[in-house]
Symmetry: C2
Subunit: 104 residues, 2 copies
Amino acid sequence: MDMIETFKALSNPTRLQILMWLKDPEANFPEQGGHPGVPDDLKGGVCVGSIRNKAGISQSTASQYLDVLQRCGLLLSERHGKWTYFRRNEEAITELAQFVGGEL
Amino acid sequence: MDMIETFKALSNPTRLQILMWLKDPEANFPEQGGHPGVPDDLKGGVCVGSIRNKAGISQSTASQYLDVLQRCGLLLSERHGKWTYFRRNEEAITELAQFVGGEL
DNA sequence: TTGACATATCGCGGTATTACGATATGATGT
DNA sequence: ACATCATATCGTAATACCGCGATATGTCAA
């Protein structure tokens, strides 16, 4: 896990916000769900469009931000049909917390 | 504590390294000490010149980096004579660790 | 196959960061 | 007052990041 890339990813207010919103997808993305073949509990993550709406950024920026968060390992993505669902990678976040709480 | 500024400060390899070196000043800055009127145990911190040498960067860059780390609260500085001694702000680092380990 | 939709990638101008040398400030000793 | 040393600030060119619209790719439905 590249800590420099991770800190860089977190040093943008919108990206930090997205990561925190994804702690509670049900509360923060209520309009999500109801996609064909996808359960309503949002365990699998939230799609780009929902995040884009919530954050108030363009589609290309949303896609790019999520890519940055995924590249450094903080998010995981899974494609179902036309949608790409993003969710937190709790292992990576725990690893980051251990680094900051211990080695840093 | 501005988390965005803090993450920005940490997203530079040299600055991250400096913060980690300052966990153990005695081991990482052995040539430090012996300044008139300053105890040898380095409890008060390490001066800019020692950090500059260790990091292999220019004097102006060292001063600027340390200022960035201080502005976001990760370092504290104290002037004694012509030297400015920098040391870690453990309270701030603990606060950061709690944020990453809890709210993030 | 064609159209519609979701997402990804490209290209751009604007802005910030990087790291430096040059110079200014501040402190010490003579 | 002066020279010297440590640090801070200024000005800079190179590079990276920001956020967007335009466009490309991939998926489904008819």
